[in-house]
Amino acid sequence: MNARNLILFGLVACLYMATGFMQSWNLSLSILNAALLATIAALGVNMQWGYAGLFSVGTMGFTALGGLAVVLISARPNTENWQAGGFGILLALVLGALSVAAAVFAWRALAKGRTRALIVAAILIGGFFLFRAVFDPSVTAVEAVNPQFAGNLGGLGLTSLAAWPVGGLLAAACAWAIGKTALGLRSDYLAIATLGIAEIIVSVIKNEDWLARGVKNLIDLPRPWPVPYEVDLQKQAGFLDFVASWGWDPVGASTIGVKLLYAGMFGLVLALVIWAFERALNSPWGRMMRAIRDNEVSAAAMGKDVTGRHLQVFILGSAAIGIAGAMMTSMDGQLTPGTYNPLRFTFLVWVMVIVGGSGNNWGTVLGGLLIGWLWLVVENIGPNIMGFITAGLPEGAIRAHLVGSAEHMRLLSMGVILLVVMRFSPRGLIPEK
């Protein structure tokens, strides 16, 4: 790490400090926490794109899967709903998986020809109807129990810290399935397939009420283990004495303390991910990945399994994104499927990687913190700037429209930033060595 990079990181730190001094520390820390999470996801994208040159735009889906993991692991179990039809749903899912497995098996075992196609199609169609026959009544039964407050199966009731790795596992499993079909073909196909699976994952979470209450949102998820609730903190004598000795306001100090604790935890995970990814990058494996990225044909000629390595790196990167998604949901304490938006959860992460410097983990971290800050700050100051620009215009509908739609400026500004960086500094702020 040279002086130039340190200065860049210092400048980004100044942005956060400036927000803290000029607006509030609470806001500055919220932005930092969101940016840290986006940075972890960006490291996953960097592994896929920067290390291996894979173009995947399914980040939103993997983030949402991470969020789903938090519900499955840490939400309160709803015993009545389980009794109503939980086992029916599980049985249906097992049956569905079995029929897909049987179809794959039949495809491999039978000789090529029309008979095979018919048998496989029959297994899949029969399996689908069997699945629906078991699944539908169970879902109706589950959703009928206590629909105002539950109506879903609930989770295991464990600490939401345990959900972080599970989020990574779910995302990895999904990435395996996508990678198996779309890798090894032309690169755009992976992009389209991941774009599709991301939309589908989010629509499943939105519509399957038995799973996580769908668009009715699942709130009251417990906090991860060491983080206390602000109200509890404000009742603790030790905390009150400590705050009083510094002359701080207990309410403000407790919110900032909680946010600091989150920032510390996220920072720790980020550090672990960077350490692991850097080790991977500087190992023979990492050199092989870069060799494959730079020239697939010659790497294949040297006996490297290009598709196999691509699958590996795709799964690893997606797992990092899933972990970030789980951490985000466990910080928010709720799963709100309506908020998953591809512009924010997929394309913004891409902007971070490109701006920071694809192929370089430190560059990605810098890009993540910088773009994460910009994204949330432009939202706040955009209307002010627009108000200033349009100050000369007469009061009226046009001026009101311009000021009102200034929040959409951030899409425009992110697009312009991406285009400018791609054009004039394609290697990013901290280029790959």
């Binding site: 755009d188 397939a193 519509n207 400026m409 425009l412 697009g415 285009l419």
Partner: protein, 336 residues
């Protein structure tokens, strides 16, 4: 057994909606496939190009409506369409000049250009939201039905109504006209032939003196025109909401890939394959089945394979099947 009513219900709920949706997807996929065939990248900004064109058309439509101009029973938007096409073509030519030309000259890899098109998508999306907002806009006017369901019922005495909306008829007729004009252009005119030559073998085309800048410019103009028409038709038929155009990317790309990327005929076939599968899988067949089976066997569920919320899953599944079993698509495209 009541075959006639079942047939009418099938036409009303499956065939006619599928036909007009298929025409919209086919036009969208044609744009994607044209860009892919000539410029050799998957244009992720295409959904937003459609939205941009539709937006300009809507603004001009509103202006016409405020002037009291109308197109009789047809939607005023058809009159505004040429303005939308001109503005969108000018806009994408500007973007090509400012953004894409640089990468073309550099011979950048197609993945880089795809990422650049993401940036363009952001910019277009921002402009659209800035100008017209994120809300749903209604700009359809003129006669609502070509075939009024009530009149159909009284005229035929059937229990099932059959409705053909003006927008559906307009969509299908316009799509046929656009496709015919495009194929005539590609097959018969000198510029069209040079475009096909360029798509087939770029080096050979350059060697025989085809001007690449001209081919690229014509491609952008055609793509912008088709995108504007597709976007406006979709907006007339369903409704205009900027975000839905982004979501159309998946079925449009699925249609283009199913037909074989770079193959215009394939794009049209792919559009209808995707649209009809989507409508058939998400349609509730209860009514039609009830007419066809004896009364005792009438179903008490909706007989719906998938809820309409999962319509994207249909295009996705078809896409996956095609990728697994015939990566070059139904009609041989430029794959691999």
């Amino acid at each position: 057994m009541d075959t006639l009513n079942a047939l009418v219900a099938f036409l009303n709920f499956v065939f006619i909606p599928g036909l007009s949706y298929g025409a919209q997807l086919a036009l969208g996929a044609l744009g994607v496939t044209l860009i892919y065939g000539i410029l050799r990248f998957s244009n992720f900004a295409h959904g937003d190009t459609m939205a941009f064109g539709a937006m300009i058309t809507i603004l001009v439509t509103w202006w016409f409506q405020s002037l009291g101009v109308s197109f009789g029973p047809l939607p005023t938007a058809l009159l505004a369409l040429p303005f939308g096409i001109a503005a969108t073509a000018a806009f994408v030519l500007l973007i090509d000049r400012v953004v894409y030309r640089f990468y073309r000259r550099q011979k950048a890899s197609s993945t880089i250009v795809v990422i650049v098109s993401l940036g363009v998508m952001f910019v277009m999306n921002g402009i659209i939201r800035f100008v017209i907002g994120v809300d749903e806009q209604n700009f359809s006017d003129g006669a609502r039905f070509v075939l009024n369901p009530q009149e159909f019922k009284t005229a035929t005495g059937l229990a099932e109504p059959l409705a053909i909306k003006t927008t559906q008829l307009v969509t299908v007729v316009t799509a046929i006209m656009v496709v015919a004009a495009l194929f005539w252009f590609l097959q018969k005119t000198r510029t069209g032939k040079s475009m096909r030559a360029f798509s087939d073998n770029e080096d050979l085309a350059l060697l025989s003196g085809i001007n690449p800048d001209r081919v690229v410019a014509v491609t952008w103009i055609l793509a912008a025109g088709i995108a504007t028409i597709a976007g406006t038709l979709y907006g007339l038929d369903k409704s205009f909401k900027p975000f839905t155009y982004f979501q159309l990317l998946l079925p449009i790309f699925a249609a283009a890939i199913v037909g074989g990327l770079g193959n215009p005929l394939g794009a049209i076939a792919g559009g209808f394959v995707i649209a009809f599968s989507e409508v058939m899988v998400t349609n509730a067949w209860k009514k039609i089945v009830t007419y066809l089976v004896p009364e005792s066997m009438a179903p008490d569920t909706l007989v719906q394979l998938l809820s309409t919320d999962y319509k994207f899953a249909v295009s996705f599944t078809i896409l996956i099947i095609v990728l697994l079993f015939m990566p070059t698509g139904l009609f041989r495209g430029k794959a691999l």
